[in-house]
């Protein structure tokens, strides 16, 4: 109880501090853009962490759900004139349905194969968006009303983290973690693995849809290529950098990576080169991420390795 009060007051302080700084103009629009992007990235990364870090399903198509959410929100606010809250919720729900739709067939696959199938799904969504004229096709969707502000970003980020944290600590969350640790054993224990994998996928997609909605209504303009393969990789990098299976890690990862890319803006030609070297260094020296939990297999340390599984 005491812990809750402390975190609640810290959050309130952060909220009002940033709001005041924004209102009196100490935070300029460039910094504001980065703060908003950090919030969106936290939502995306925490959602993907539920799928990849906690349930152990390897997804390379998370940007597709963000894209679905962004376009849904754009259509609802710009074309149909709905309010932002409706657009956010509908974006999330439609993205979640997309997650269920793609999850039911593909989640039978494992490991790399699932990664490839979700990668393919992401590309298909991008190509379809490129070819629908109603949503602007390759030119992009223009004139989306700018509804996203600090309050929305903050509320949605906190809500996402809160809900996913509680989901993980619930009965259902533990089932997801069991699937990650050993799918066959989890099934033997009576966990409906397909149901929980699809559930995790749908929840992750739901929050990605919300992030997409916030993104679309902040930038006025979206185009299908913003949600390509590289965006999915960016989200995955945040999750792995922060540590798989650690919510705090994802938050820290999103903030640190934004700061790194902020510093790299100064050398635009070498930005990606330095970024790739940083990424490589992290993977070699700290493959479990900043707050990762030692490859999830602490108790197996020293145990004999099962050759039949290792060699596969």
């Amino acid at each position: 109880m005491k812990k809750n009060i402390i975190s609640f007051s810290i959050l309130t302080i952060i909220y009002f501090l940033v709001k005041i700084l924004l209102d009196i103009g100490i935070i300029d629009s460039y910094l504001q853009l980065n703060i908003f992007l950090i919030g969106i990235n936290i939502i995306l990364a925490v959602g993907l962490n539920l799928i990849t870090g906690f349930t152990g399903q390897f997804s390379l198509g998370h940007a597709a759900f963000m894209s679905i959410g962004a376009y849904t929100s754009a259509v609802f606010t710009a074309k149909l004139g709905q309010s932002f809250i409706v657009a956010i919720l509908v974006s999330g729900v439609i993205a979640a349905f997309a997650g269920i739709f793609i999850g039911i067939p593909t989640l039978r696959l494992k490991g790399d194969y699932l990664a490839i199938a979700t990668l393919g799904f992401g590309e298909i969504v991008r190509i379809i968006a490129l070819n629908i004229d109603y949503i602007g096709g390759a030119i992009g969707f223009n004139d989306i009303p700018q509804y996203t502000n600090w309050t929305w970003i903050f509320m949605m980020t906190v809500a996402t983290v809160f809900l996913i944290k509680h989901f993980i600590n619930s009965y259902h969350g533990r089932a997801c973690i069991a699937i990650r640790e050993d799918e066959i054993a989890a099934e033997a224990m009576g966990i409906n693995t397909t149901f929980y994998k699809v559930l995790a996928f749908a929840i992750g997609a739901f929050f990605a849809g919300i992030a997409g909605s916030l993104y679309a209504n902040y930038f006025y303009f979206i185009k299908p290529d913003s949600f390509g393969f590289m965006k999915s990789i960016d989200i995955l990098v945040i999750v792995v950098f922060g540590g798989m299976g650690s919510i705090e890690g994802s938050i820290l990862g999103a903030i640190l990576l934004s700061i790194i890319s902020l510093f790299l803006q100064g050398i635009p030609e070498l930005r990606m080169v330095v970024y790739s070297v940083v990424l490589f260094a992290i993977m070699v020296y700290r493959p479990t991420g900043l707050l990762g939990k030692g490859e999830f297999k602490l108790w197996k340390k020293g145990a004999e390795r099962n050759v039949s599984i290792e060699s596969k």
Binding site: N131, R271, M272, S276, F280
Partner: protein, 294 residues
């Protein structure tokens, strides 16, 4: 009918490029279970090496092809030693992100050094048009060169993998690394050779694409890389004939889809086929189903 034949010829040329790149993917995956995302960029560097040799040194087609293959195989070995060896025992996802970081590094280092502009590849092969059926089918001599070189390289690969000691070591390591090591196979050396051979094939594909399409740029490897990977998975990743089959299959499908009005959806079709194949036969069209042991 003539149009179909014409498209089949184009499809085979495109398919042979995919097949050459896919072979490298499949060999690397077969031996260390790593999706080598940097493979598409090795193909790009192969094209640039070919470009530099033909433009600045004025070398002919065949010497540039061979030198480019050599440079790429050395690059492949260096990448393996520097980047993939330290992470060989880490998790799948760490390995995957390392591969992506290597890919980004190659792409943007090239962007930095050669500038992101598209460059025109010199005409090193005489373009000679052959017409068949009263001019209804046009075959460029380049198509024939590409197909012949691809077949030659694949025959060479088949020979190396099945008839030489190195090939035997490769097959042994891909079957069971620990057992192969116990039998006295030098696993590190074998993995190096695999990277060298796979990368040299990608380098050849790069030069061939430069000659065939005449334009190259530093990000040209991304899409063909993904496509070739799709091809490798279609045929069954880790299986060499599967990569060849997948490459040709994908090349044909793509050309036919674009020819019959779906050119904007050709990439979507490729990925849809991939997903459908994965759902029906997760181990690829030529793959064998392996039961999971508990």
């Amino acid at each position: 009918m003539e149009q179909l034949l014409q498209q089949l010829i184009n499809g085979i040329s495109l398919g042979s490029i995919y097949a050459l790149i896919a072979l490298g993917y499949t060999m690397v995956y077969g031996i260390i279970n790593l999706i080598n995302f940097a493979h598409g960029d090795i193909y790009m560097i192969g094209a640039y090496v070919g470009f530099a040799l033909t433009t600045f040194l004025g070398l002919g087609f065949f010497p540039s092809l061979l030198i480019s293959m050599l440079v790429c195989s050395i690059l492949g070995m260096i990448i393996e030693k520097v980047a993939y060896k330290p992470i060989r025992n880490s998790t799948r996802i760490a390995a995957l992100i390392t591969a992506i970081s290597v890919s980004l590094f190659l792409e943007y280092t090239m962007v930095y050094f050669v500038k992101p502009d598209t460059r025109t590849f010199p005409e090193v092969l005489q373009s000679k048009i052959l017409t068949l059926f009263n001019g209804k089918i046009i075959i460029d001599l380049k198509n024939i060169y590409i197909i012949l070189i691809t077949i030659l390289l694949m025959a060479g690969l088949q020979y190396v993998v099945h008839k030489t000691k190195v090939g035997k070591a490769m097959r042994a390591v891909s079957l069971d690394k620990n057992a192969a090591e116990l039998m006295g196979v030098d696993v590190n050396k074998t993995i190096s050779y695999t990277f060298a051979i796979g990368s040299s094939l990608a380098g050849a594909a790069g030069v061939l694409v430069g000659v065939y399409y005449n334009t190259i740029n530093p990000l040209m490897g991304v899409v063909p890389g993904l496509k070739a990977f799709v091809a490798a998975v279609l045929g069954g990743i880790g299986i060499i004939p599967g990569a060849v089959f997948g490459g040709f299959f994908l090349g044909m499908t793509e050309t036919l889809v674009s020819a019959y009005g779906g050119s904007v959806f050709k990439d979507a079709v490729a990925f849809s086929i991939l997903i459908i194949v994965l759902l029906i036969k997760p181990n690829g069209l030529l793959g064998k189903t392996i039961k999971e042991k508990v």
